[in-house]
Homo-oligomer: 161 residues x 2
DNA sequence: ACAGTGAGTTGGAAAATCCAACCATTGATG
DNA sequence: CATCAATGGTTGGATTTTCCAACTCACTGT
């Protein structure tokens, strides 16, 4: 992942204080991640994003606005007369690609029928896995322990099964 | 990630055929991933999930039902008289943990203020990164190429920026 | 007898989403 | 010149979801 020059405002969440909830507050609304997917694929224009995601155009407008406000995408004019715009990922938006990658991988793994998109890494099929940079081991549910910082929001019971 | 014994039905999606869209059709509704998060943390009872996510109880009921129908969680009775249940992750649900991990990591990286949950791997801080199992290199936007299988849904332009 | 726990239901208000149609600007076509 | 198509949206109104507070039911503990 990249590293932030400036960090984005953390949105308010309810329930357990959690970066997952905060992240989902920014990109968890309907169509938001699919819009990011299209932009990541290189489809930067409103019409292309609308067509490829299937999102209603008015909803897409509000999503693009809030993703922009959140600092995940940028709206850049590419011509005047008439004014036309395209959307680009910010560094933070780029950093959502691994999330999309993993969502795609989950679907490819667990859902019926052929995966509609194939990925190659360098020149071979991509076999992505989460690794720990410190020790080089694979990250599995068993080897990871969560430590909740906020008092009152304890975990109850073991992590697995 | 785990490997599927039986695969789950792929939900219908609009727009570009895509495993991301299909996955989000199952877990992309409001509160769904947060419910999975709580169950993954070991909080298996309805009240605990409701309290820790902040989800309205009626919505939580419908989410738990559809996650169960999708094959992501299981509802198991742990006593009769009165009938009481707890929720467990199926293997497919377990496999969503890396997705949650990455969402948390994105928030920890890009959002202001201290991350409310810390993770340790074995005995050190977790520094998770996506690696390719085939070649051992890190997976970055530059080194991955998407190949759309479905005709008519081409990618336009380069993957980056 | 009464309060408390656990797992929901219910009714009604509020918000979000969906859809089809519309608008404005400009360049190309007949 | 009238019209068409492309682009990037708006708009109004119907539909669907979500939210909230209160309620239920079946017990258990005091």
């Amino acid at each position: 992942m990249g590293s932030p020059a400036t960090r984005l405002p953390r949105p308010a969440t309810v329930g357990r204080p959690c970066s997952i909830a905060a992240t989902l507050a920014l990109v968890g609304e309907k169509w938001a991640l699919l819009a990011v997917r299209e932009i990541a694929l290189g489809n930067r224009r409103f019409d292309a994003i609308a067509r490829n995601t299937g999102a209603p155009r008015d909803i897409l407008t509000t999503r693009l606005r809030s993703l922009e406000a959140a600092g995940i995408i940028e709206r850049r004019p590419y011509q005047d007369r008439p004014a036309r715009f395209e959307y680009h990922l910010t560094p933070a938006g780029q950093d959502l690609k691994p999330v999309l990658q993993l969502l795609a991988r989950w679907g490819d793994t667990w859902l019926d029928a052929d995966p509609p998109v194939a990925y190659t890494h360098h020149d071979h099929d991509l076999e992505a896995t989460l690794m720990c940079r410190t020790c080089g081991d694979e990250v599995t549910p068993h080897t990871v322990q969560a430590h909740v910082q906020a008092p009152g929001w304890t975990r109850q019971g073991p992590t697995d099964t």
